[in-house]
C-alpha cells in the first residue's frame, strides 16, 4: 500500500515534469502489480489466476495460473515477448497483443515482467 502510494506520487511528479496531463497521471496505475490488476490496463486476472496475489480475484481461467514464472521462463526476454505479442508464438492466441496493439507501453510491460517474474 505504502509502496503503491509512493509509485503514484512518483508518476504524478514524473508526468508533470514530462508535461503529460494530470488526468492521465491520475488514471495511470504505475506499479507492475496494479498494471496486472487494472481492468483498463493488463487485466491479466480476467484470464489468469495469480494464486499468490490475494487481490487477484475474481480470476478467469482461459490462461494458465501465473506462478513460478522464473522457473517457467528462465529467459526474461521470452516472457516479455509473450506479453508484447502472444500471437507471434501462437497465432490463435486468445491473449491480446499488449505491446503490438499499444494496450500497454513498453515501459509498462517491463514493470509487469518484473512483477510476475517474482511470482
Amino acid at each position: 500500500m505504502k509502496l503503491e502510494m509512493r509509485d503514484l506520487m512518483m508518476a504524478v511528479t514524473l508526468s508533470l515534469a514530462l508535461g503529460t496531463s494530470g488526468a492521465q497521471a491520475a488514471a495511470g496505475e504505475p506499479s507492475g502489480k496494479s498494471l496486472v490488476l487494472a481492468p483498463a490496463k493488463g487485466n491479466c486476472v480476467a484470464c489468469h489466476a495469480l494464486p499468490t496475489v490475494k487481490e487477484a480475484t475474481p480470476a478467469g481461467n482461459s490462461g494458465s495460473p501465473l506462478i513460478a514464472m522464473s522457473a517457467r521462463f528462465p529467459d526474461k526476454a521470452a516472457l516479455r515477448a509473450m506479453i508484447w505479442d502472444a500471437t507471434a508464438v501462437n497465432p490463435a492466441s486468445f491473449m491480446p497483443p499488449f505491446g503490438k496493439h499499444r494496450i500497454l507501453t513498453g515501459d509498462e510491460i517491463d514493470r509487469i515482467v518484473e512483477f510476475i517474474y517474482e511470482l
Binding site: A59, S62, T87, P91, P97, R102
Partner: protein, 293 residues
C-alpha cells in the same frame, strides 16, 4: 489449442487482415474460409455444435438457450426463481401497452404484421428483397410505425423499442428459431455477418468467436462465456430486473470489450451479423424477455 482447430471454427481473418499483418498461417485461415464459404447455415451450426460436444461432452440441444447459466447451477437456480416472480413484470406490461396502442390512423402493429405478429420474430432477421438489405424484427416494427404515420423508435431506447420488442417477440415464445438464408443476396449478407463474427477486431484482437466459440465455458474474470448457438433465442434480456437490453445493444457492449467501434445499430454490419448469429440458433426454442441474475 492447435491452429487447426482454430481454422475449423474461425473461418478467415476478414476485416482484421489489414490490421493484423496476416502471416503464412493467417493466409491458411483465409483459404480455409474460402473453401468453407459454400456451407449453408445448417452446416455452420453443426460444426459449432460438434466443437462444443468435443469440449463438454453431449449437451442437450435445448440447453443452449440458457447460455452461461448451463455451466453454473447456482446462477441457474436464481434464474429459475426469477422466472417464477419476474422482477421485470411491469416493463412487460409497458411493452404490451405500446403494442396495443393504435397508430395515428387507428391501425395497430397486429394489423400491420402478417398473422398479427404471431410466430413472426422467429424468422427474423430476414433478407428483404424490396429494400435490398437484411432487416431485423425491430426494423420490421419500425417499418410499421413509419407506414402508419409514426416516427420510428430509437433502436437502442429500452423504454420504447426495448419493451415493445419484448412483448412482440414474446408472441413467438416456445416456437423454434427459423432463419432462412436463400441463395443470392441473402447468402452474401449472411456471409458478411459470418466474416464479422469470426474476424479479430479492435485493440484487443478478439473475435466474437474467440469468446463465444473457442473459449465458451471458460471464465473471463467472474463471468462464464456462453456458447454462440442459443444466444439469439431470448431477447431482449432483463438483467437483474433492469433493462431491457436488446440483442444489438449487447453486440455493442461486446464490441466495446474488443476495443472496436462498429457501425451503428440497424447498420448493414450489425444486421448482417445478427442474421448469421441468429441462424446459429435455428431449431432452438425462443423465449423472449428472460431475466438474467
Amino acid at each position: 489449442m492447435s491452429s487447426r482447430r482454430q481454422s475449423d471454427i474461425e473461418p478467415g481473418a476478414g476485416r482484421a487482415g489489414l490490421f493484423l499483418g496476416v502471416g503464412l498461417i493467417g493466409a491458411g485461415l483465409c483459404l480455409g474460409a474460402l473453401a468453407a464459404q459454400a456451407l449453408p447455415p445448417g452446416q455452420d451450426q453443426a460444426r459449432m455444435l460438434a466443437h462444443f460436444t468435443q469440449r463438454f461432452g453431449e449437451i442437450p440441444l435445448a440447453d443452449y438457450v440458457y447460455g452461461s447459466l448451463m455451466f453454473d447451477p447456482e446462477a441457474m437456480a436464481r434464474h429459475d426463481a426469477m422466472l417464477d416472480f419476474p422482477p421485470h413484470a411491469s416493463l412487460l406490461d409497458a411493452g404490451e401497452r405500446l403494442w396495443t396502442r393504435p397508430f395515428r390512423d387507428g391501425k395497430t402493429y397486429a394489423d400491420c404484421l402478417p398473422d398479427a405478429g404471431l410466430g413472426l420474430a422467429r424468422s427474423y432477421p430476414r433478407y428483404d428483397l424490396a429494400q435490398g438489405r437484411v432487416i431485423t424484427f425491430e426494423d420490421a416494427l419500425n417499418d410499421c410505425r413509419t407506414r402508419h404515420g409514426e416516427t420510428p423508435y430509437d433502436l437502442l431506447d429500452s423504454q420504447t423499442m426495448g419493451v415493445l420488442s419484448a412483448h412482440a417477440r414474446g408472441l413467438s415464445d416456445g416456437m423454434k428459431m427459423d432463419i432462412r438464408v436463400p441463395d443470392g443476396p441473402a447468402m452474401m449478407a449472411y456471409l458478411d455477418g459470418r466474416r464479422t463474427f469470426h474476424a479479430r477486431l479492435g485493440q484487443h484482437n478478439y473475435a466474437c468467436a474467440s469468446c463465444h466459440v473457442l473459449h465458451a465455458g471458460d471464465r473471463l474474470g467472474a463471468q462464464i462465456l456462453s456458447p454462440a448457438p442459443g444466444q439469439a433465442t431470448h431477447w431482449p434480456v432483463f438483467p437483474a430486473g433492469q433493462g431491457p437490453v436488446t440483442l444489438q445493444a449487447q453486440y455493442l457492449a461486446c464490441f466495446q470489450r474488443m476495443g472496436h467501434v462498429p457501425d451503428g445499430p440497424g447498420s448493414a454490419m450489425l444486421n448482417n451479423l445478427e442474421y448469421y448469429h441468429s441462424a446459429l440458433s435455428n431449431g432452438l426454442p425462443m423465449r423472449a424477455a428472460v431475466p438474467r441474475p
